[in-house]
């Protein structure tokens, strides 16, 4: 476990030192600020997300989980795999006493840490803004709903990250992986809309599955089905990604 722990710490430190995480967090915060301005504008015409303090954080999450978060996660995942292969820095870690499985798992853990930090920061900020704008509507259930919706979003984003990691281990060029992922994301998004009865097969349609968790009637069957599909995707792409990573010659 020492090698795994060392790699996780190193990957997080590298992310931090590259300032990428800071920039991404700043952008995420900027999105909240823009959200506030739009919401204030909408409030003036009677459509307010500040009506209830718990609505604003979930609205922010719905936008973030479908746009910026997948984009940032893709960038980070590409950076950790394709980026390191193309800059020849992957061999620095590969020649240390740590197995490729531990190295691969540690990098995935670092991506999960990044997604979690991003979600927590946005959750805290958006909840604070929601409370400031309408403090009287705060309820314990409302807070729990916000926390659950942010926590469960980690799963679809991580599945998406594993798909990106899989392609990062096939293609050598970071930009090729990026464009391929953008293309696949768009195709998956459109297919999910066109073939809506089968939309649960497309990962893009699961990015806002947090809504099922916080709706008034909890859709246990739907949640279970989507969870199992995502788990299946996750296991498949983790295994495939690791297989390619392990076989790769430097």
């Amino acid at each position: 476990m020492e090698g795994f722990k060392a790699t996780v710490i190193n990957e997080i430190e590298k992310m931090y030192k590259k300032k990428k995480m800071i920039v991404i967090l700043i952008i995420s915060v900027a999105v909240i600020a823009i959200g506030i301005l739009i919401s204030i504008g909408l409030s003036s015409v009677g459509v307010g997300v500040f009506k209830k303090s718990s609505v604003f954080p979930i609205s922010v999450l719905s936008v973030l989980a479908n746009t910026l978060l997948p984009l940032f996660t893709t960038l980070v995942a590409i950076d950790l795999f394709s980026g390191e292969f193309s800059h020849n820095t992957m061999k620095i870690a590969l020649t240390r006493p740590v197995s490729r499985f531990k190295l691969f798992s540690a990098k995935i853990t670092a991506i999960a840490f990044f997604v979690m930090v991003n979600l927590v920061v946005v959750m805290l900020l958006s909840t604070s803004v929601g409370l400031i704008c309408n403090f009287n509507s705060i309820t314990f259930i409302g807070i729990i709903r916000i926390i659950i919706s942010y926590i469960v979003t980690l799963l679809p984003i991580m599945v998406l990250a594993l798909i990106v990691v899989f392609f990062s281990n096939i293609l050598k060029s970071s930009s090729a992986v990026f464009f391929l992922c953008i293309m696949l994301y768009m195709i998956s998004f459109v297919m999910g809309k066109i073939f809506s009865p089968y939309s649960s097969l497309f990962i893009t349609s699961m990015l806002d599955w947090h809504i099922h968790w916080v709706s008034d009637t909890m859709l246990i069957t739907k949640i279970t089905r989507e969870f199992l599909i995502m788990l299946g995707y996750g296991i498949m792409f983790f295994t495939g990604g690791y297989y390619l990573f392990d076989k790769r010659d430097l």
């Binding site: 590298k14 061999k91 006493p97 430097l250």
Partner: protein, 241 residues
């Protein structure tokens, strides 16, 4: 004598027909092995397989009696290496780079980091980002990373690349010091025959993927005026020059 490296029937062929063919080699503790061969002869390929960066088509490599494929972590526990080019994270300082590497080993503190930076002559650049380093400085940082954990085996691929004369002399001295004080075993590839002659105690010549000969330096110099003459003679015997 304790065997540090055992290579048995190692083969790796590329699509272009180059590679290494049934390489067999044994290196004992305290040896300073010089792996000589022209460009494209298979030196780096062999070293990449030894350090797990590449998989062999057949054959095996054991470091300290442990197979690098099956027991990678244990095999690499006491190994430091610099393969092909000295890489570092350009957005980190020399100290931060070494700090990252130190986490994989026990008992490597800041004093040890400063010690290796001093040994390789870049202590004054400790807090400078490696993206601003010259080729020689990057090479020194790579060497610092290779010896950071006080390894029992150091595998160096062209360690003198990019170094000035002063740097070459310093690194030669460093290798000799580590052999004398810590009984470190070295596996060094180089095309700089003169430097290999001054540093190594055992020589292996590889040509077109085949190991032509392995002999001790004292035997070589007893029969040939220089290592260069021996190299030419060995390659010539095989009818390739």
């Amino acid at each position: 004598m304790e065997k540090v490296i055992e290579i048995n029937g190692l083969t790796k062929m590329y699509k272009n027909g180059r590679g290494i063919k049934t390489l067999n080699l044994e290196i004992n503790k305290g040896d300073v092995f010089g792996f000589l061969g022209p460009n494209g002869s298979g030196k780096t390929t062999a070293m990449k397989i030894m350090t797990g960066l590449m998989k062999a088509d057949s054959g095996e490599v054991k470091l300290f009696g442990r197979n690098v494929v099956d027991e990678y972590e244990k095999a690499m526990q006491h190994v430091g290496c610099l393969i092909e080019t000295a890489e570092s994270y350009p957005y980190l300082t020399a100290y931060e780079n070494l700090k990252l590497f130190s986490r994989y080993y026990k008992n490597i503190d800041d004093n040890r980091i400063d010690e290796v930076l001093s040994l390789t002559g870049i202590l004054k650049y400790r807090n400078e980002k490696s993206k601003n380093f010259s080729l020689g400085m990057k090479q020194r940082l790579g060497l610092s990373a290779a010896i950071l954990s006080k390894p029992e085996l150091v595998i160096l691929d062209e360690p003198l690349n990019g170094l000035d004369v002063e740097g070459m002399i310093e690194i030669r001295k460093l290798i000799k010091k580590l052999v004398e004080t810590e009984q470190t075993t070295f596996f060094i590839s180089s095309h700089l025959i003169h430097d290999v002659e001054l540093t190594c105690t055992k020589i292996g010549i590889i040509y077109e993927g085949k190991l032509l000969s392995v002999d001790h330096m004292e035997n070589i110099l007893a029969n040939y005026a220089t290592l260069e003459n021996y190299f030419i003679s060995e390659v010539d015997k095989n009818g390739r020059i």
